[in-house]
Symmetry: C3
Subunit: 351 residues, 3 copies
């Protein structure tokens, strides 16, 4: 096969790729899943740098490498490693012990690709969130961007503060499988109430996953919980170039009506970063109305349900929806494996 021509590229967000390149990755994933393409990564090594816990992302990527004959080496930052620095010209006599100017080229020599998860809001805590700064301060994803700058091998974003492209690609693959041609179909990304203040990276990449397919994308969220305006703008530009649309609303019934896909996700209001106790109080009244349940799903055009998992049952979505044939959540999680395989094969030049 000719190859996708993506060897050596980084994947920080699919917005850095053309729609045709994104579609190439999705189609490659489905071909690998079907057994039609078998990329060979024998004796190739994926380095993984985790600043946060991970189940699905880590297992899907390690499994993808192993099934293609390769290996993974996962290190947990701050526990297996030192603290990293990414500012320029700093006198390193405080807490940081290794500069990304060394870390990135060194890992580049040991690995054929590097995956990095670094998000302020991913923790194993069941309720408490903390952030080192406002959303404006952390939205630059400095560490992974600087790492990519000094790396000689492809860098894959395993979830940053702004994007989670591997989730987005799995969602795109699932919609292609379920819908065939998703153009003209209505995709609703609905905010969900949750105990904890969760990161915006996944909903950003989910919104983009539908935009990359040229769908009619509707972001349903309460006032005050809008997504990143700059990313909304880039997404609108992307989706309109493909004949689709991007809208926002807080009208629940209006959004569900006629939907072909309902994707639920909890996320923190961007203005609440650093003051999550306030958010908890302000969103208390939203719990009752913002769960995905059978009544809301009945408003749709026989929509299927998506969620990135893990999901709190009967909080974000009812058992009735999640255990019904309407739910694509397990299929969607399974597609994490095949899209990871596609990305790793394409960026290392094996496909």
């Amino acid at each position: 096969m000719a190859g996708l021509g993506l060897a050596g590229r980084n994947l920080l967000t699919t917005l850095d790729f053309t729609p045709a390149e994104v579609r190439g990755l999705v189609d490659l994933a489905l071909s690998i899943k079907a057994g039609d393409v078998r990329p060979d990564l024998a004796r190739k090594v994926l380095g993984l740098l985790f600043f946060n816990p991970s189940v699905r992302t880590r297992m899907s990527c390690e499994s993808a490498m192993a099934r293609m004959g390769g290996s993974s080496i996962a290190v947990t930052a701050g526990k297996d490693t030192w603290q990293f620095e990414c500012r320029e010209g700093v006198v390193m006599d405080q807490n940081t012990q290794e500069h990304v100017r060394e870390l990135a080229p060194v890992m580049s020599q040991f690995c054929h690709a590097v995956g990095i998860r670094k998000s302020e809001l991913i923790t194993t805590s069941s309720s408490t969130a903390t952030a080192t700064g406002t959303y404006e301060e952390i939205r630059g994803d400095d560490f992974i961007r600087r790492f990519a700058e000094f790396s000689d091998v492809p860098v894959v974003n395993f979830e940053s503060n702004t994007y989670h492209p591997l989730q987005g690609l799995a969602d795109s693959a699932t919609m292609v499988e379920r819908l065939g041609d998703p153009r003209g179909k209505k995709y609703v990304l609905t905010w969900a109430w949750h105990l904890k203040s969760l990161p915006a990276a996944t909903p950003h990449s989910q919104m983009i996953s539908a935009a990359n397919l040229g769908m009619d994308v509707c972001v349903l969220r309460p006032e005050g919980w809008g997504l990143d305006p700059e990313i909304m703008g880039a997404t609108r530009e992307r989706v309109e170039s493909l004949g689709g649309s991007l809208s926002e609303t807080d009208d629940i019934a209006e959004a569900y009506r006629g939907a072909n896909v309902v994707c639920a996700k909890a996320w923190a209001g961007l203005d609440y970063y650093g003051r999550f106790d306030q958010e908890a109080r302000d969103k208390e009244g939203l719990r009752k109305d913002w769960i995905v349940d059978e009544a809301k799903m009945d408003l749709t055009d026989d929509a299927f349900f998506m969620h990135c998992l893990p999901v709190r049952r009967n909080v974000v979505v009812t058992d009735g929806v999640l255990d019904s044939p309407r739910s694509a959540a397990i299929q969607e999680a399974g597609n994490r494996l095949w899209t990871a395989a596609a990305v790793l094969a394409a960026l290392t030049g094996a496909a």
Copy 2:
């Protein structure tokens, strides 16, 4: 080769397998050890979910996969992962973040088999034990049983509250190696004094390991430290069907006399679960008499000594016994590798 016909089966306890199936696994293990059978698990992935620390089980299973060409992905629950829920219909607005109804089918899509260690009493603490409930409350092994229910791939028990079948199979293989035909031989499982209250899973599976070989099995323990009556009953039924027997005693000299195998293990009295401080006081007087030493071994019919390791020297067994040719402990630990290989190959259909 024809294969053992165990593809797709779960291994929670060998009592779920027929004696012929168990013997098939033992013989396969010894054939792999001898180099006569070389199962191929290239590009196959074993997922490992550890709720507790593990050295021998983890290293033997990962090594078995690697030697057969496959890979392992180990995640530590609660550290790498979220907290898991396995109750039905629960509103997940407390500590649990992911339901086994999602976790199991998702891991099934990433892995060709899944190993789970989840025991209340395995910790790295050198002296303190805690339990979340009475033995009656935890003996159901809810998590692993529910996981197996929702998994699409074989689930292997890496030690639960009640069983540790991989240890049992290694013990069976060691006895076959040492005794040839173990039928009619006397096997003594002796309780040992220990600082800490240890789980009953290993002694249960060790008792069963001898029962599966049709031996005359004697459980030697102080009054108050009997094993699970229901498991004792199932073991008696198993061993009698093979022409052997199961007895219990607290008479040390009587038990050792004529023994062909002495297997030592410390375990907590089942009635002490949740009140281990009381157990520590009640067993203080037992320390002196319940160590395995040369004098006791001299009562036997030239028995060899078994222990699952790790072992506290000169507490559970004397240096004199452990460093003598009578000790099979190192051989027994080595057989963890080959029995793990047999189980993983058989359940995934590679043997």
Copy 3:
């Protein structure tokens, strides 16, 4: 190929190998790097036992195994494992749970080689050091030596209290690459000021790395920060047998003058072990003068700069030196991969 004849050997320090054997390992590393030699370790397993955090050592060795077709299993002592005992005849009723007399032969049966990192002073703390004893008490490296005694497979020192031979070999390979024939060239190992009291294993092995090449080795350090006198003696004997020399000085300008290689490393004064607060006070005045900067490098004979990484920028070395073509630090770190591959291939008999 004939092979290096090192199969089955342990690597605790390169001083245990002849200069010809060391040079064989360095040349093998450069041949693997060039793609001229491709050792095959398919289905071979490296066991890794970490008592301390590790990035470069772990990733380079795991990557080396993976690139040669093999696998690694890393366990973290005290977290994944129990506490280990290595004294003889002890009644193990305190904190230790497993004796090295069991641990080593058991791991030997699971793995084809074992790497062990056990150092008192390697922690992720950015400033605080603690030691369980004086340097005299810990310089024996009891655990790894006892493990090697009871192991049936090669044991590789991944950094002990006294030696870090994998770093030393990478340094030797880098100097051979940069200098061709290093004999007669001046190598300066300079002490550097650092917030924290760091171990002496790396500077010992770095000094030896130049000695193994027959260079003129100069150890530049303040009074009171001399390296281990016994290791200095063995190094002097080694280097003089190869026509080189070993000297010590605290005269900074004199040491840099005419140097062909400047290798910087911070280490704790051996007399300060166990009283590091005192060391911090006593070395305060040294910070200004002991950094590697452009002015000092200008005194050399166009020397290149080495550092084992991680390095605190503008504390140990200035950005000006580290970001210049004079720096070999990235190349040196890259050579960790190839020297690890050479060691693992040679000791397991694959080269």
